[in-house]
Symmetry: C2
Subunit: 142 residues, 2 copies
């Protein structure tokens, strides 16, 4: 999660919403990314999606069944869907996101009856640090 | 939808699951794409996501508020989430997808309480042709 938070800080330095993600396979980091929506003018360029794309490219595989995703904020519906498609074994996330999250809030994608793959989920890891990064970013924007 | 079906046939010719998508702005096609998961080894390379990325790149905009998405199959949770993020005005889709769909089935992303943007949705347009393409593709795979 320390590395995911580092990615979130990289995002902040580029005036992007500070969210970072890292994918680990058997203890080794195989992909890391941060939110790039503004720079790329791409609403799909969330940290999780970019990390999944990088990890799949690195392994030459569509499935990340023996991998774990660390991300600083609760994934949205788009990213939760991508996590299922990639068959990630585990998701460890930082701050809860009642406004946009779709794991423990909203659409609760992994709990839907037709969800094809449900990863293990650990919520609220280093929650405060993730939350503070986001809060100070949006406060500075006002 | 005819153009989206054409995209789906392109996918089939590349041994990809035959799903196609087209984005239209004021009557003009600005992006079209088909599923490329196998070729790219990328589980996020769904027709809708690729079409959204292309449309945003074409316009240099993160928002597609005056655009409509035509897609041959009911979008999954990932793509429904991306549709919300892109603020698409309308989604017109072909075949219903009880196994993987997330608009009229499963997570029903646009009906979730924290969904930030709900497009108008028209379901089942040219349903049979979309369904037949998918059925014959999977039948040939067995």
């Amino acid at each position: 999660m320390t590395l995911a938070l580092e990615q979130a800080k990289f995002a902040q330095n580029q005036d992007e919403v500070p969210i970072g993600a890292v994918i680990v396979q058997q203890g080794q980091v195989i992909a890391s990314a941060h939110n790039l929506c503004e720079s790329l003018k791409d609403p799909t360029a969330h940290a999780e999606l970019l990390a999944i794309q990088k990890a799949c490219a690195a392994l030459g595989e569509m499935r990340l069944s023996d991998c774990e995703l660390y991300v600083t904020l609760e994934p949205c519906a788009m990213c939760a869907g991508a996590i299922s498609h990639a068959r990630l074994a585990k998701v460890i996330y930082g701050a809860y996101d009642p406004k946009g999250g779709a794991i423990d809030h909203g659409a609760k994608v992994f709990q839907s009856p037709n969800c094809l793959h449900r990863p293990d989920v650990i919520s609220g890891v280093d929650e405060n640090e993730s939350k503070q990064l986001l809060q100070s970013f949006f406060l500075a924007k006002r």
